[in-house]
């Protein structure tokens, strides 16, 4: 069974077709990256997989559950991290996690475990508004992991992070991968995608223009970045 299975997905916003027959699949325990320029449809696709948006046609299944008909089952099994940490700034880190833990029906002991894991236990009782961007993203990971999801969806999670923040973040993701969590992520940073992911797909104007092993995608060129630029038609621009 695939962790994520996407078949012939179409999505329009008004007259604008954002996704055009997108099909791809992510195996369980795999790290899969969606690459593509701004406006390619990566975020829309992630939001559909996360049950936050409904596709116009096509099927999306997460661990066998249909995202349209079995959204609640899907939500119990996924964690979502976006560039927006989805946290309440007025509340402390612990209060944020307490709220989400209760919403998921998770024992509160799990909060301490996660605060320790993301190295925020010392700042746990300070308002999130006082946190740096990197700390907010680490707390966001803790929020997303509260209910021990089997699939983690990451939509450009390192946007705005400095080099150290980015490195810590990817180290955390690496650990999750070792624990068997499936990762489906979007990023602009091809070198980071290479470090973490084994397979990926390149989206361009709502279509999958290439997918497979990252090593295959860059076989004929110097680097994944060159392959990405070739496939998205951005080579030579800007």
């Amino acid at each position: 069974m695939h962790a994520v299975e996407i078949r012939d997905v179409e999505k329009c916003f008004g007259a604008h077709r954002v996704l055009r027959g997108v099909s791809l699949s992510v195996a369980e325990g795999e790290a899969f990256v969606l690459l593509g320029p701004n406006g390619a449809g990566k975020t829309t696709l992630i939001r559909i997989v996360a049950t936050l948006l409904r596709q116009d046609s096509g099927v999306v299944r997460v661990l066998g559950y249909d995202t349209r008909r079995e959204a609640q089952e899907v939500r119990r099994r996924i964690g979502v991290v976006t560039h927006n940490p989805l946290l309440y700034e007025e509340l402390t880190a612990r209060e944020n996690l307490t709220f989400y833990a209760r919403a998921y029906g998770v024992p509160l002991e799990r909060i301490e475990e996660l605060l320790d894991r993301v190295e925020l236990e010392e700042r746990a009782d300070e308002p999130v508004s006082t946190f740096s961007r990197g700390m907010k993203q680490r707390l966001s990971i803790a929020r997303a992991l509260l209910h021990s999801p089997e699939v983690l969806l990451l939509d450009e999670p390192t946007t705005g992070l400095d080099i150290k923040g980015r490195r810590d973040f990817y180290a955390l993701l690496g650990n999750l991968l070792e624990e068997g969590v499936t990762l489906l992520m979007t990023t602009h940073h091809t070198e980071e995608a290479e470090r973490l992911c084994s397979r990926g797909a390149v989206l361009r104007s709502g279509r999958v223009v290439a997918q497979g092993e990252l090593s295959e995608l860059k076989a004929s060129v110097e680097s994944l970045e060159d392959a990405y630029l070739q496939m998205t038609g951005e080579e030579g621009e800007g």
Binding site: L53, R75, E90, R102
Partner: protein
């Protein structure tokens, strides 16, 4: 519907609000000022206060509510935390009920301060029971909160949502306002008891139930982008 999930959401919203007091401060300031201005204006027309008083009081609640009640959803939308809420296994009914209860607590807080203030500022000759009048106001405000919470979700994805909400709220709320003012008039001015305003209370209750059902049925659709 899990009551614990609703309480969790209400506690989270109250905790965040009490820490900043952004919404409640503005609601109290606005309603206090409105009562003071209306009492000064009404004072120029001696003899008319008992007749227009309940209507003016409802106007204060209406504008105060419009100012603050939409914020519960709009703030979540603007901060992006609405996605976080939707990603939890909380049902639409639980999210909507949590927001409505939080809004109701805000309105009851305002009502508890503004209603006595209104009696004092207007030097209002209360002929009926104060407790019954308070209960009538509470019922009206409950219905107001249900309708405004439901409509706030419908306009969430609109660009000018904070301008759009009052425009669609007024016509939908019209029957509730008319009935609440009538019941409040009967109690405060006419000195009538519970049985005499039972007709109005039944209709307001029925309206609240119907609007709750409609809100829950449309909530998922309203949140779709």
């Amino acid at each position: 519907m899990r009551v614990s999930a609703v309480i969790n959401l209400v506690v989270k919203d109250l905790r965040a609000e009490l820490r900043t007091k952004h919404t409640v401060n503005f609601m109290l300031l606005f309603s206090g000022l409105a009562v003071a201005f209306f009492s000064r204006i009404a004072g120029s027309y001696v003899g008319s206060v008992p007749e227009i008083g309940p209507g003016l009081l409802w106007l204060v609640f209406l504008f105060t509510g419009m100012l603050g009640l939409g914020r519960a959803f709009v703030k979540e939308k603007e901060l992006g935390t609405l996605d976080g809420l939707r990603l939890t296994p909380m049902s639409s009914a639980e999210i909507l009920a949590g927001k409505a209860v939080y809004n109701l607590l805000l309105m009851l807080g305002v009502q508890s301060i503004i209603f006595p203030l209104f009696i004092v500022f207007f030097d209002f000759p209360v002929r009926g029971g104060f407790a019954l009048a308070f209960a009538v106001l509470t019922l009206g405000n409950t219905c107001f909160v249900i309708v405004s919470s439901a409509l706030a979700t419908l306009v969430l994805n609109a660009r000018a949502r904070e301008l759009l909400l009052p425009v669609i709220l007024l016509p939908v709320l019209f029957p509730v306002i008319v009935l609440s003012v009538s019941a409040l008039n009967s109690v405060l001015v006419g000195g009538e008891g519970f049985l005499n305003i039972l007709g109005e209370i039944k209709i307001i209750l029925a309206y609240a139930v119907v609007m709750s059902v409609i809100a829950m049925l449309t909530f998922d659709f309203a949140l779709e982008e």
